[in-house]
């Protein structure tokens, strides 16, 4: 071991063996002195002379001990250790102050840690795929209306992209479907999410199967074998990790697929998928080959090592421009939307999380401002002690170091408390978080979060410790020692006041933001959806094509299901929809036959819904004009359709749509265009979530005339869904034993899910604003109390000279009001500046609302009045004789 390392280790050990080493050194030096004394006595000196001569010869014992000590320990570490022990002793002597400081700081740090852990899980944690930042997700978009969002890709477009692009190692295709999994021994049929993918999809993701293999390009073709790769989750859940799984059959959608591989647990793309099947087998259908049909296909690409995202964006836009030129009818204004996979998954949460992070930073700043004032006041109270230390030789830097170490102890303990608060509150946060993104529920308190907490604790020392330490030692300590007290400097008063003003300003910003977000959330709640989501239970039944190829079987099934469910006690209405509200997403062309047809790219494409039973009754949607579908609307009768008021306004402005004819390719089994007569208009129905700006209107078709097999049962009943789930499953199993029912939830739950992000933001912002108000009030109270204490002599003099208690009260209140006024002015300016960011998360609420500012100012005024009350009352009760005599 090198000598300097040995020396280092020895010094570290020295810190912990200080007492024994000190004793050893003292004894050694005593023995040396004794030997010198004996020698001097032998030389003829008297014992006293011999001892003095020995001391003179040896030199300054304490100085030599100090030099010798430096060889055994690091002096700076030794001093630090002493200061730390002293700091802990001093803080334990003032438990009230210490507790308030730790809790104040802990709440601020805890809020930051909680939000950071969320940010870490959602935004910072990389995807569990190799080189994940090179995986891009692609869709199509209207380049003239980018606000309308993205939509899926057409198969011919994908084929052109794959042929023409040069920046990708691989370009893969995917389509997510719900699939019925049945014939598993000992298990009921269940619904799983499956994905049709091209063979190179797994190369794009970069993960290999952990058991078996994935399918190759030769197998991924029309007429190819039905192979399936399953997820680790499904392997565990349905097969108990059977090692013989490879080659076993799996019945999906009533067809036997052969399991050829199992993906590792970290494979979660597309999200929630449990089975991957070859896609090209399905491409021999009339719809998919049309460029204007976008059958929920999305594209995934892995960038080459030498290519960048910008190059990919440029190239894809150029390719789409060429396609647009070659196919103007179908591809007018269509361009590629290219983004990193991570951005696709979490991009829409970025702003909300950033706002929350900003809010907790403000809360922490308020906490630190409070602590700074607290420490400054405490420093002033300890002036006598510090003056004595200065008198016996402590340098200013040593005193500052001592005060900073006390701050560091508070910061460390505050950090520990904050970490625990964040850890305990994680359940609340994940409960309120959106269910659609699994990353929200993978919050862990890993080393990154711990490091964040430690760094934040360290930073707070600078924020609340430096100024008080500097301020306290700036005073003439010798004067303080003689006078027994210390005067309050103007600059110190000013800084204290400005810290409170900052508190009030930041609190105003937080309160107005929380108020606006709360108002926005209230608007969301009260939004007229056009239907009644409460007491509406939904259940999904996806009939497999292979078992229900004959559409008559579908109608028989649905009639039986409707009749049986309608007969259940407590059921008021029951209907069926293929794409009900919030499960929408199937648009159809919609062309008036009484006007010239626009080019395909400019055709209206409202949301389509295919219904049976008492659908409108179940939704409580109002029929405004015409009639609903009846049993007489069959395959043999004329084709009919109903539209909602939005579609009526958009496509029949100023006209009565009843009796008008439209042509549409609505049927799921064919691309043939049919003509439908509009027979009814229902009230405006909101089919999409509030985060989707598009409102293209809805057109309803009868299930008897337009083919759909993925169905949603809508049951209006007061009974809770848990009690109905088993009953519905039994009814469906009674009709078809192989048919599962899944995703049984109330419509209220589905609606609430669309607000999940806003709900999280609203709840947390409100909590943080409340915390800020509490901390700011405490800070204000502290400063006013302290000021009243410092002005005690002045107050006593005023009272002695005839001032009334009301005038004294006025002194305190005027000070409080001055702070409030300044805080509100600064806060309002800051709130207006922050309005721009807030605008993006508000729903039907303006970002700058004077009424909100007035309300918040009133709240702060009330808090100020409460904070002023006690110090003012105490000041009034001052006995001038006692105060003047004592001073």
């Amino acid at each position: 071991m090198p000598p300097h390392v040995r020396s280092w280790l020895s010094r570290v050990a020295g810190l912990f063996r200080k007492r024994s080493r000190e004793a050893e050194m003292a004894q050694e030096i005593r023995e040396h002195l004794a030997s010198l004394t004996v020698r001097n006595i032998a030389a003829g000196m008297s014992p006293e002379e011999a001892h003095n001569a020995a001391l003179r010869e040896f030199g300054g014992v304490e100085q030599i001990k100090e030099i010798a000590r430096e060889q055994r320990v690091w002096i700076w570490a030794d001093h630090l250790w002493q200061d730390l022990r002293f700091a802990v002793r001093i803080l334990l002597k003032q438990p009230g102050f210490t507790l308030v400081a730790i809790v104040t700081l802990g709440l601020g740090i805890g809020a930051n840690t909680a939000i950071f852990s969320l940010v870490n899980a959602v935004l910072l944690r990389p995807l569990p795929y190799p080189d994940a930042n090179r995986i891009l997700f692609m869709a199509e978009a209207d380049r003239k209306n980018p606000a309308q969002g993205t939509f899926s890709v057409s198969l011919p477009d994908y084929q052109d992209w794959r042929r023409d692009s040069t920046v990708f190692d691989n370009l893969a295709l995917s389509r997510v479907e719900s699939a019925t999994l049945s014939d598993i021994p000992g298990r009921n049929p269940e619904q799983i999410t499956s994905a049709l993918v091209t063979a190179n999809f797994f190369q794009v993701i970069g993960l290999q199967s952990k058991v078996g293999r994935t399918f190759n390009e030769a197998e991924d073709r029309v007429g190819g074998p039905l192979l399936v790769v399953i997820s680790d989750r499904l392997w565990q859940r349905a097969f108990q990790r059977d090692p013989e799984i490879i080659g076993k059959p799996l019945t999906l959608q009533s067809r036997a697929a052969t399991v050829i591989g199992v993906m590792p647990a970290e494979m979660n793309s597309p999200q929630g998928v449990d089975a991957w099947l070859p896609i090209m087998r399905r491409t021999n259908n009339d719809a998919w080959v049309k460029r204007e049909i976008h059958p929920m296909l999305f594209v995934w690409g892995r960038l080459k090592q030498t290519a960048t995202l910008e190059q990919a964006l440029t190239e894809m836009k150029a390719i789409c421009a060429r396609i647009e030129q070659d196919h103007p009818d179908s591809n007018r204004n269509i361009t590629a939307a290219v983004m990193p996979l991570m951005e696709n998954m979490v991009g829409k949460y970025r702003l909300n999380l950033a706002l929350l992070l900003g809010a907790v930073v403000l809360v922490l700043l308020i906490a630190c401002a409070n602590l700074a004032n607290l420490f400054a006041a405490r420093g002033a109270a300890r002036m006598h002690e510090l003056a004595i230390r200065s008198a016996i030789g402590a340098r200013r830097s040593q005193i500052i170091r001592q005060l900073l170490i006390e701050g560091a102890v508070i910061a460390f303990l505050g950090g520990v408390f904050g970490y625990l608060v964040a850890f305990w509150s994680r359940g609340v946060v994940t409960f309120l978080a959106p269910q659609t993104l699994s990353r929200f529920h993978e919050v862990t308190f890993d080393s990154r979060v711990l490091l964040f907490t430690l760094l934040l604790s360290g930073l707070t020392i600078a924020l609340f410790g430096l100024w008080p330490a500097w301020q306290t030692t700036r005073t003439d300590l010798q004067f303080a020692l003689r006078a027994g007290t210390v005067s309050d400097s103007v600059s110190a008063r000013r800084v204290r006041d400005w810290l409170v003003i900052a508190d009030l300003a930041l609190t105003l910003v937080l309160l107005t933001s929380a108020g606006l977000v709360l108002k926005s959330f209230g608007r969301l709640h009260r939004l007229n959806l056009g239907f009644e989501p409460r007491q509406l239970v939904t259940a999904r039944v996806d009939l497999p094509y292979t078992g229900y190829r004959d559409y008559g079987k579908v109608l028989t099934f649905t009639k039986a299901m409707l009749d049986k469910v309608a007969a259940l006690p407590g059921v008021e209405n029951v209907g069926i929809g293929a794409n009900p509200p919030l499960l929408a997403g199937w648009q159809v062309p919609f062309v008036r036959t009484d006007k010239p047809a626009p080019p395909p790219a400019e055709r209206p494409d409202p949301d389509s819904e295919v219904i049976a039973g008492d659908y409108f009754g179940a939704l409580r949607a109002s029929l405004l004009r015409g009639r609903a579908f009846t049993d007489r609307d069959t395959k043999e009768s004329p084709n009919v359709a109903i539209i909602d008021q939005t579609a009526a306004d958009l496509y029949f402005p100023g006209e009565d749509p009843i009796g008008k004819q439209v042509s549409s390719e609505a049927d799921g089994d064919t691309t043939e265009s049919r003509t439908y007569e509009i027979i009814g208009v229902v009230g405006r129905t909101r089919f999409r979530g509030t985060d989707d700006a598009r409102m293209p209107g809805v057109v309803f078709f009868p299930l008897s005339q337009v083919h759909r097999r993925n169905l949603v049962l809508l049951i209006r009943t007061a009974a809770p869904p848990t009690s109905l789930q088993k009953t519905i499953a039994e009814i469906v199993a009674g009709i078809d034993p192989k048919q599962p029912v899944h995703d049984v939830r109330t419509m209220s739950d589905r609606v609430a899910e669309t607000w999940a992000t806003q709900r999280l933001l609203t709840f947390l912002l409100s909590v943080f604003a409340g915390l800020a108000l509490l901390l700011a009030s405490i800070g204000l109270y502290g400063v006013l109390s302290y000021n009243a204490l410092r002005r005690l002599r002045e107050i006593a003099l005023r009272l002695a000279l005839g001032a009334q208690p009301g005038q004294i009260r006025g002194l305190i209140f005027r000070h409080g009001l001055r702070l409030l006024f300044a805080g509100c002015v600064v806060g309002l300016l800051a709130a207006i500046a922050a309005a721009g960011i807030l605008r993006n998360v508000l729903f039907q609420v303006a970002a700058i609302e004077p009424s909100m500012y007035l309300l918040v100012t009133a709240i702060l005024a009330l808090a100020t009045a409460i904070a002023c009350w006690r110090p003012a009352a105490r000041a009034c009760r001052t006995d001038p004789m006692v105060v003047l005599r004592d001073s």
């Binding site: 000598p3 030199g59 030599i64 010798a68």
Partner: protein
């Protein structure tokens, strides 16, 4: 620290030679601090006098580096004292420092024409 009658001795030379002196003195047998100080004066015939104030810091430094090791020993009829002895690592350092010193002195002699005693 260690001084000669001539004040022109190099500071670095003094520091390095002090370590060499102490290591060589504890090579034969363990010695305590007072004895080391006395031996230096005795064996140098009064030419070298060790400043006591520097002795213990140096001993502790050498002990930190694990070149010497101190132990409290009470001998019959004597006071309890802390004796220092050379460690194996110190043995190697001593040998190296002796060689360095020998080379240095040899070079100085050759240049200055001083005959080897």
């Amino acid at each position: 620290m260690l001084y000669m009658s001539s004040p022109r001795l190099d500071r670095e030379l003094k520091k390095g030679s002090a370590e060499l002196l102490i290591l060589s003195l504890v090579e034969d047998r363990p010695r305590h601090g007072y004895e080391i100080g006395q031996l230096i004066e005795l064996r140098s015939r009064g030419v070298l006098h060790f400043n006591v104030g520097s002795l213990y810091p140096l001993l502790y430094r050498l002990e930190n580096r694990k070149w010497i090791r101190g132990r409290w020993i009470e001998k019959a009829g004597q006071r309890r004292r802390r004796y220092y002895r050379l460690t194996p690592a110190g043995q190697k350092v001593l040998a190296a420092q002796r060689n360095t010193w020998r080379d240095f002195v040899g070079a100085m002699n050759r240049i200055t024409g001083v005959a080897h005693a």
